[in-house]
Amino acid sequence: MELFKNFKDFKMDVLKEVGNIGAGHAATALSQLVGKPIDMAVPKVQLLNFEEIAEKVGGAEELVYAVFLRVEGEAPGNLFFILTPEAAVSLLNRIAGIEVSSEGMLGEMEMSALNEIGNILAGSYLSSLADFTQLSMFPTVPALAMDMAGAILAYGLLQFGQMGDDALLIDTTFMEGNDEIEGQFFLIPDPESFPKIFKSLGVPFDND
């Protein structure tokens, strides 16, 4: 894990660009789906302790909807698309015309629609990333869960867990003008994917 602590700013910038390209394409796809412009924050690339990662979405107990895809191929990793319950309801309404009565549990149909939305966005994130890096990346079938953030995100930390207590996270937030729809993409490449990503982008990978 020392390896990641020693990343120079330049390498962090390269990873930010990775997040920028992926989330940029996903934001465009989302904006087409809802028919409104979607803004995107500058991606954050951070080496975070496991506890801090759950804090990024409001704490380990915070209720979130998350679409999770395991990425396989040359640069494996984990990709999460995370929405607050309010944003999930709002997205369903805008895109699928589904009226959700309260902020209670979504039914099977709603969950399925949300999973598909997440799939479209995550697929667009991943395919633009694969084009950019020229690395093969295949998403697994996406899975949707609504639960405590800590319980969900732990799934993305297992590969890092074997190496230490921190994970390198590429975090991009996007929002619609009035913050009604706010979502986050978390890309957590497996530790062994970093040299491949850097190499494919022409960045020499040594320990500095």
């Binding site: 496991f50 506890e51 549990m105 639960d147 319980a151 732990a154 930390l157 867990g161 074997q162 190496m163």
Partner: protein, 165 residues
Amino acid sequence: MIEEQSIIKVGMADLNVGSQDSLIRTTGLGSCVGLTLFDPVKKLAGMAHVMLPSSDIAREGQLNIAKYADTAVPELLNRLLALGAVRSRLVAKMAGGSQMFAFAGGNDTMRIGPRNVESCKLALEALHIPLIAEDTGGNFGRTIEIACNTGVLFIRSVQKGIREI
């Protein structure tokens, strides 16, 4: 030794012990397992938030022994014994080990929850500590809290509310 009604937090891949009126809590258990040991006479309890089944797969330089089932359970036992717990009185409970995402393929990583549960059971058996209650499996997250004076384990989940074991 410990303030009244204090809450002792246990993070992911972490463990801690408490006594008397304190509560030990860990939040957002998904595939991870929260394992507790309790000495009813001394009113001592300990909790570990286990993330991975076995330290054999560890590739980290300095092993975090609270992270793996096979190392966390013995460590938790040692911490309680150091505080004066009596080994033959200790009983174990656990919760967590769920499968948050259902996938068609039987990828081993995705089965991490059940594997964590199995490993914790093996570790307890090896130490001859009886497992008296568990709330494991399913596809939902849990937050758990043990009362150090009674050994009651409170389990809260989004879908099922609060349960005691």
